[in-house]
Symmetry: D2
Subunit: 350 residues, 4 copies
């Protein structure tokens, strides 16, 4: 399949490119970047030195139409909404990495993003790109909207227990910790090394936009309304998210009961690992262990003191939280092994 | 006042020593260490090079009796319980940095620490060394039990709002992030740089011992029972704690109402800063800003989406979380300005 | 080929295992560990969860003889010297990761390591496992001695210019910076996170043992004696080495001349990349870019002010500096593409 | 004394402000910032919350003339050159933190900075603000030009041995490692956390401007010309510099001889500590130990293998490398104890 990447100079675009270059069923026919048009991609993504002589191209719809069967759009939020309809129109399939097509309810864009969606007709068609939840729908989708990084970590941590109907659905606290790459490749004071190194910054304690998609996806799994109290913290690492999710049980459950709920939900999933060991340093999920992989490690501990279940969910924010998830969607679309091009097991230690 | 430090080779002992060496009302007469007896203290605490020629001494009660009026005991949990009674008996005042005298109810030692307290008679007498909560009692105390580091951060974040009686007291979630110095100076696999660097490890998701003292202190402020759902995470920094506390309001409060609750509670407190700015990178508490200081920065944000209040509380775990808090207690005992020897404002950036 | 790993619980053993598990021409038949015998390998190497159900075995020569054609020995320096001869005797091929067979001159073990070599007869036979320098010899070797991590970075940086005979051979300064994984998986005070984080420790300013093998290999390339002034620093990262090599030119050379010297030396080498761009953040080698790969990035800058050439050489200390180099040697032995199982391009950013 | 800070919003200005606010002989009468005029200084320097209600002012010469006796100018290189002459003209004393008045030879500005100095007449008058080398001259100086951070670390490491005349003066290699704060407070791609974290970037291998002042100062100590081969590396820390200096001895010296050379040179210096212990983790200088202090720790090791002396020199780049050094100069000007306001011993661990 001939695949293009629109917006290939950022961190998500760079990882898409790396994964696609080694994908046996894909030919990367073009990578666009307004800023770097004409330059070698390895100038921006130094890890690709020696792997490719591709250069960034400017964005040109007719070139894309000619050379691609499917495109990944990795543009800033708010830019995809205008481009994607045009790409669909010229017959391309699109896997969009932005937030622009994730939400089903157009009103949610006004509420959470502050702008009115100009293509609400596509929201219904777009498939939310969490393979674990929407595998069937994405097989023939024209448009897949890849989940937000903190959203996917939190959703995968919560989905089984929400579906099981055994927790208080309005007292869910998700406390996320994320690395600096999550803020993108453009320098800002918040990501300035002297300011970011060695601290824990509560950068979005309330009102985080990913709350919208988390609740949307969880509400599909249950009849009672689910609300999530989400907070995000910037910590001193580059890649990775840990979402620590605190929920209160409404039923008396043993550890084994909870384990069964998770195991049966994720049975056969190639990229969700249940991590809950009796001993060892990494007996629960830690983003350090999934860096460089497409895994989502999910574990939990029960706190009898307050009848609380603590669920831990760890991902690499650029892989399972973006580019890796996108490739997994592509593999579903292609009808091939979902692990294709996503075999990396990570490194220990890193 | 002649002051001794028992157990001076660890991180808490080292910072006690540094602060006491520059304390205008104190003469450090002895510092003990079994392991390093006979060696210069600056060999273990390299920052003290040039500041002192003191050497570590072995522990000898009659020497202590002769040379000290007050001692800080900075020994491992479970060791102080045997030594402190002897020190009191020979007429010394004691500020104990361990957990051994923090809890009022002897049963709590069985429940949370797994051992039976052999000097329960002292638990009633010991003053819990949070100056903000027990200033009056500590003035003439023989024995002050300094709070646990994550406990003090969490207690100071919660005390005003718990006392105000406006939150659900059984749905309090405290999600703490702590630096590696919190685990002490002895190398372990958990603090091994290759394993600790760049991750977020849920090292005590449930059952953390500090829960006991947090609940004890909060219950003193209110009539309804308070339970706390506490979880701790090891992050990639050396010093600092951020406790992110999620509570649900039972009353409709404006931001200003909450602000008043906190401001009136901490009015005049020299080491609690209310941090809640409209803009700037550090508009909410971040441990990076309090490193090297005795401050506890407390801030909050209200989440109308779930009627949640997110409270952020940041300290330097070795200072406000241990040695600095100990010196503050000493200053109260001495009847002098609490800020004495604790003037450091920290550094930006660090 | 049936391959075993002796000493599989350390960082080098873990990465050997990861690479071999995905090697298309290899079956990993056994992994030994005294300490972890009976336990799953993924308990020690958490990145391997889901990749293998292998367990560590105790070391048993007859089992090894039965099940392996070739073994990697990843044991502490000084342990291989006794085991390797036995492995050779029972007909195995050995790729040894320790220093025990790297040096040709038995006296060098006395001088640099402080012990007398008990199998000097094997030193001549052993092939120094730098593929770039000894590819032909290793094809049929029974015993390959993999280079030291800082040695290989420094040797690859220096080899072309030393061979070209254009520098002062007794004024070579190599100033190396290395991550914490280089010190191994056992916790020590030097690798204790609070002590290692955020500093630059000159841990071996003089007398580093890798000097011996660096000089040995460089002396093979030239007739005049080469001496190297080597110093190592521990910096705040987990993986990676940058060796900054300062040499003084004896001839007047243009940048282009130097470039030709390097390009012709490394022409066709799959894992040496010449990195010297006009612009960009990573225009010279940086270990950050080679993390997770088997590349050695080599670059240089000329300083007309003192007629100095600064050569930069960057590797991942566990891959090109150990396990990756070992797999590259294996591929030569197998007569297959050297890149087999070593395709990872790394990640940006990481 | 009434002191002003011109350019108070950067890292150097912020640390000047912190130190001056607690300086017993100083009243900070104004702090200017074009960008932040009208805002509280603690908004930019969060560590100063609670310490001052000062606001940034715009730059206004007549206000400065009215309110200040001495000013610190902490502006970008190339800006001081125009402002300082005006400040001197209105009768102020100036301690300039930029490079604009450090070099004696106007031609050096053309050579190293690429611009022609418009006030060469002031270069002769300006005192290079290394207290250890120019204490007498600065007592009555109108204009003190504070040294560059990497320059001061390297100069203090080399001065004694250069003066002693026992090394090859054209084969001096200084390999410096510096934290991210050295690049200033403005976000750039080079200091973007995802790009800076966890690497070692050779950011100025040749041609670093500090070479000019290093050589200038060393040449004052000896008759033979000294040239320095300087290279700088960006490492993963915020504060601190380690300059590793490799020199070759021309005479046969014992360790004790070298020790005497250094001890006699720095006898009585309050901020140079000779660090060379037989054991311990920090037996040689490490920037980690001097963070938050005005110390320069200097140590060395002799390498008989190549007759090389390795000199290690560590400072906090913002303190001894800038603001702390500036305050030390001020104390000389004031004729008071040089340690005034510079008592901080740092923290262990940090």
């Amino acid at each position: 399949m001939r695949v293009g990447i629109i917006g290939g100079s950022g961190y998500v675009g760079g990882e898409l490119l790396r994964l696609l270059l080694f994908h046996p069923h894909v030919e990367v026919t073009m990578v666009t970047s307004r800023k770097y048009a004409g330059e070698f991609v390895f100038g921006v993504h130094p890890n690709l030195r020696g792997a490719t002589r591709l250069k960034f191209l400017p964005l040109n719809l007719s070139d894309i139409a000619k050379n691609c069967d499917l495109v990944f759009t990795a543009m800033p939020h708010g830019s995809s909404v205008n481009l994607v309809p045009k790409l669909l129109e010229i017959g391309l399939r699109v896997i969009d990495m932005s937030a622009d097509f994730r939400l089903k309810n157009p009103d949610d864009y006004v509420k959470w993003y502050g702008w009115k969606h100009v293509h609400p007709e596509l929201l219904k068609e777009a498939v939310y790109g969490s393979t674990e939840l929407h595998r069937q729908e994405m097989k023939n989708a024209r448009l897949i909207a890849c989940p937000g990084c903190m959203a996917v970590a939190t959703i995968l941590g919560l989905a089984p227990i929400v579906k099981a109907g055994v927790i208080e659905k309005d007292r869910i606290v998700a406390d996320a910790k994320i690395g600096s790459s999550g803020a993108g490749s453009a320098p800002t004071i918040g990501s300035h090394h002297p300011e970011r190194f060695g601290g824990v910054r509560p950068y979005k304690s309330v009102g985080h936009r990913h709350t919208a998609e988390i609740e949307q996806e969880l509400n599909l799994l249950t009849n009672e309304p689910v609300t999530v109290s989400f907070s995000a913290h910037a910590v001193n690492m580059v890649r990775g998210i840990l979402s620590t999710i605190h929920v209160f049980l409404t039923k008396s459950l043993t550890d084994k009961d909870v384990w069964k709920i998770y195991r049966s939900f994720y049975q056969g999933e190639p990229f969700v690992r249940l991590v809950r060991y009796k001993k060892g340093l990494y007996r629960l999920p830690d983003p350090k262990v999934v860096m460089g992989t497409n895994f989502c490690d999910v574990g939990f501990e029960f706190d009898p003191h307050t009848n609380r279940l603590v669920i831990l969910s760890a991902i690499d924010n650029i892989l399972k939280g973006a580019s890796g998830q996108g490739i997994q969607c592509l593999n579903v679309v292609l009808g091939i092994d979902e692990k294709t091009a996503l075999e990396s097991m990570g490194f220990h230690p890193m």
